[in-house]
């Protein structure tokens, strides 16, 4: 690369530099499977994660059907399940409670660790961070490849666990002991091993992203000139880097509990049969919960931060004006990152928490809602004064705002432990977080896919079908998740394999299960245009007419389309902030970051 730093390298590598040079790869394997190019790795991540997302949704479709029709056989897929998983799991095509639990646990695990995070940080982060900061690749390309391989094999382990005797993990995505130890299936062990793979993958990936951002920014790309997307990835990567290791430690301990018969998480005096009958005891089930939520709370901000980053890019570009309060956004994201490490126990209010600890955690929880409010306010105010183009990415981005708001606001009654008494572990919680992750993060990811598709493939996705996809998804997401708040308020509990028919609930609450099922079917139908559009557009979409079809300012749009090996065809130097749209006096309504100032 011939930028200003090239000078430092010109002679050191003149001779015998074969193995550490950054050559364009050749051959199928190095091109597509073991590629070290950040763009290829990003695409690998993206495609794999999309398939997992579809799979996770498939599991959920079956669960929603079972909830709406407890005790009835699953149509079409039922007999298939019985064949694949055996008759004690899906006898007569009916999803047994055990199978329901493993679908639930795996839906959560897959969506969080195999779909959304890999898509948001693995795919978008990998593909965009280097090109947005003007780097030719990630700082450690080989580690990047290893990170994808670990992710892929972790996914394979998780997937295989469905077919081991006893079935996949059944103790929820939270895997609370002693239940996780008491369930007689190897699936639980597979889950732990899979998690160790995924954690290692995340660690490599996040260290790589941080190092890239610190080291490889192009000349002139100062911290405060970085697109907000890069900031969001930076903070998210730190969360992954620092929050995951304690869960890895916990995972190792739970694995030891399973394999060596230790009892880190098993108290003295358990009266359960089987393998647990003669444990030594002395452990603490709450220890696991603390270590788990120490990861899992920061993890939820890993789910939302990249989404906010994507949304910011799209909003700035499609309102044709700068983001309102860029600095405030950056500081809020950093604050969100810091505080997210000290709120974890708000998931554990009902575990017998003392007043002091509860006060601490509900205070921090309220504090963390403030930067979220600020970020959302900035994004909302950014719309004012714009000239808004409602293309598909922008539609998803605008819809994200109120959807995330519903999810975020319903987090507040959960954050106060006094109201959480009534709402804990009900469908209210399910509604809360799905509003943030599904019509929230998933919408942001859809927006990102439509937005950057032209850069990655050189072709546009079809706008008409994009809009069909958008309206279908928006309507049905709400049909699915809105009723959950009523169900939760009415007292319906989550993780009920029969949808709560055993509890004395008002009949209309149970009836909503049917409505939600129709919503889920509608949502599935609404994805069909997307999937067809996605694959069809790769070869048949409308060709882009310029390298910068959206007339955006950030460096990712200053590359050739699609970017070749090394990303840029000329040295990048940055002269201004990321969102110089509609600058008064400029002849176009956008001023790319690398455009030389006049004088």
């Amino acid at each position: 690369m011939a930028s200003s730093n090239a000078a430092t390298h010109s002679h050191a590598h003149d001779h015998a530099h074969a193995h550490d040079d950054h050559h364009a790869p050749t051959g199928f394997w190095t091109n597509y499977i073991f590629s070290t190019d950040h763009k290829v790795v990003g695409i690998q991540y993206g495609v794999t994660a999309l398939f997992f997302m579809l799979f996770g949704f498939g599991l959920m479709m079956m669960m929603r059907w079972q909830i709406a029709h407890p005790g009835e056989a699953l149509p079409v897929l039922g007999p298939l399940l019985e064949k694949l998983l055996g008759s004690n799991m899906a006898g007569k095509g009916i999803i047994s409670p055990d199978l329901y639990n493993s679908f639930g646990a795996m839906h959560g695990t897959i969506m969080v660790f195999l779909a959304i995070v890999p898509l948001a940080t693995g795919a978008f982060g990998n593909y965009l961070v280097p090109i947005q900061i003007g780097a030719i690749d990630m700082a450690f390309p080989k580690l990047n490849m290893a990170s994808f391989q670990l992710y892929f094999w972790g996914g394979v382990v998780m997937f295989t666990s469905f077919f081991v005797p006893g079935g996949a993990a059944q103790a929820g995505w939270t895997s609370y002991p002693p239940l996780a130890n008491a369930i007689p299936t190897d699936g639980q062990t597979y889950w732990l091993i899979g998690m160790v793979f995924l954690i290692s993958s995340s660690l490599l990936g996040s260290a790589n992203i941080i190092a890239t951002i610190i080291q490889l920014r192009a000349p002139g790309m100062t911290w405060m000139r970085m697109p907000f997307f890069v900031w969001s990835q930076f903070v998210a990567a730190f969360l992954l880097l620092l929050a995951f290791p304690p869960l890895e430690a916990a995972g190792v301990m739970q694995l030891m509990d399973k394999v060596f018969g230790t009892s880190f998480f098993l108290p003295t005096g358990l009266a359960v049969g089987g393998d647990l009958a003669n444990i030594s005891g002395g452990g603490s089930p709450l220890l696991w919960q603390h270590l788990f939520w120490f990861l899992a709370h920061p993890e939820v901000y890993v789910l939302i931060l990249p989404a906010l980053g994507i949304i910011s890019e799209i909003i700035a570009c499609n309102t044709r004006k700068p983001l309102w309060g860029y600095k405030t956004l950056v500081y809020s994201a950093l604050m969100l990152g810091f505080i997210s490490f000290i709120v974890w126990a708000h998931h554990m209010y009902m575990t017998g928490m003392s007043t002091k600890i509860a006060t601490f955690f509900q205070t921090t929880t309220m504090i963390i809602s403030i930067p979220s409010v600020i970020i959302l306010t900035c994004l909302l105010l950014s719309l004012w004064g714009g000239s808004i183009r409602f293309n598909t990415p922008m539609l998803f981005a605008t819809a994200f705002l109120p959807m995330f708001a519903i999810g975020g606001l319903t987090g507040l009654p959960l954050g106060f432990n006094y109201s959480d008494i009534h709402l804990h572990d009900t469908y209210y919680v399910i509604g809360h977080f799905h509003y943030v992750v599904a019509p929230g993060t998933i919408f942001a990811l859809f927006a990102g896919i439509y937005f950057w598709f032209p850069k990655v493939t050189g072709r546009h996705m079809n706008e008409f079908w994009g809009k069909v996809h958008f309206w279908g998804s928006l309507v049905f997401m709400n049909v699915i998740f809105m009723p959950m708040f009523s169900q939760g308020m009415g007292g319906m509990l989550r993780r009920m394999s029969d949808g709560g028919i055993n509890y004395l609930l008002r009949p209309e609450l149970l009836y909503m299960n049917k409505v939600i099922l129709y919503g889920a079917i509608g949502l599935a139908l609404a994805q069909i245009p997307f999937i067809i559009n996605f694959f069809q557009s790769i070869s048949g979409g409308k060709k882009v007419t310029s390298d910068n079809p959206w007339e955006a300012t950030t460096l990712d749009w200053q590359t050739p389309t699609p970017p070749g090996h090394g990303n840029f065809d000329r040295p990048m130097e940055v002269f201004r902030g990321p969102y110089e749209y509609s600058v008064p006096g400029h002849q176009t309504d956008f001023t790319p970051q690398n455009e030389k100032p006049k004088a």
Partner: protein, 258 residues
């Protein structure tokens, strides 16, 4: 095309890429061992009944601590030698680090083996015996160690009561045995922590030895090709080594002394 700052530091951060990467890795490692140590604290403070003390040999632990600290010093010397361009000196110090690391693991495996032959036996008659296995047949178990009817004494082995116990050959008929177990992880929560923490630490050492071995052997050919980059590699390998050493400095008092 070349990724910048692979060996020269970036002027504004003052770091080359690998060093940033290593610091980040170490930050995550801090959290990993931090998680384990918090687990230790939580389990110990929440523990009912006596906590095992003095179950590990302090002299052996001290010796191993010395070994690791020396290896850290030699690792630094090796890097300094690289900086001064003295390849042979580097080879010597780096080799010493490697040998010390292996010595540490040797001592550790001796300790592990000792734990696996150390038995804890509770009898139906209420006596608890504890010692090394001498022999085990179908009808009886012979230990060399101590016995008492007050198991609490066996927990605190730094106490005077314990020191009063008489070491002898103890024969226990199989029929009288209520519970027999060597010092494997599941015997009690203390040993679980011991095996888990030292085991993970040992894995870190093994990883370090592989890297150090590579840099001493085949990897050292880079010295002729790109001296600066090789020196950097030695530096970050050394940083990692200091971290592993530092972890041990916490492990040692926590498990051996307190």
């Amino acid at each position: 095309m070349q990724i910048p700052y692979t060996s020269k530091p970036r002027p504004d951060t003052g770091l080359y890429n690998a060093k940033v990467g290593l610091w980040l890795f170490l930050a995550s490692e801090v959290m990993l061992f931090g998680g384990l140590f918090s687990a230790y604290i939580l389990l110990r403070t929440g523990h009912e009944g006596p906590w095992p003390r003095g179950w590990l040999s302090v002299p052996i632990g001290t010796f191993n601590t010395m070994v690791l600290i020396s290896s850290s010093i030699s690792a630094t010397m090796a890097w300094a030698a690289c900086k001064m361009g003295q390849f042979n000196r580097f080879k010597m110090f780096h080799g010493i680090t490697l040998l010390l690391a292996i010595l540490f693991l040797g001592v550790k495996s001796f300790e592990y083996r000792d734990k696996l032959t150390h038995y804890w036996v509770e009898t139906k008659s209420g006596v608890v015996a504890d010692g090394h296995l001498v022999k085990k047949t179908d009808t009886e178990v012979v230990l060399h160690g101590v016995r008492t009817s007050d198991a609490a004494v066996l927990y605190d082995r730094t106490s005077a009561d314990y020191k009063k116990l008489h070491h002898e050959e103890i024969t226990i008929p199989t029929a009288d045995i209520k519970k027999i177990s060597n010092y494997q992880p599941k015997l009690n929560i203390y040993l679980s922590l011991y095996w888990c923490i030292t085991g993970l630490h040992a894995l870190h050492l093994i990883g370090g030895i592989l890297v150090f071995g590579y840099l001493w052997g085949p990897g050292s050919s880079m010295w002729n090709r790109d001296r600066e980059r090789f020196t950097n590699r030695i530096e970050i390998a050394g940083l990692y080594w200091h971290f592993v050493d530092l972890v041990w400095v916490f492990v040692f008092p926590v498990l051996y002394l307190f």
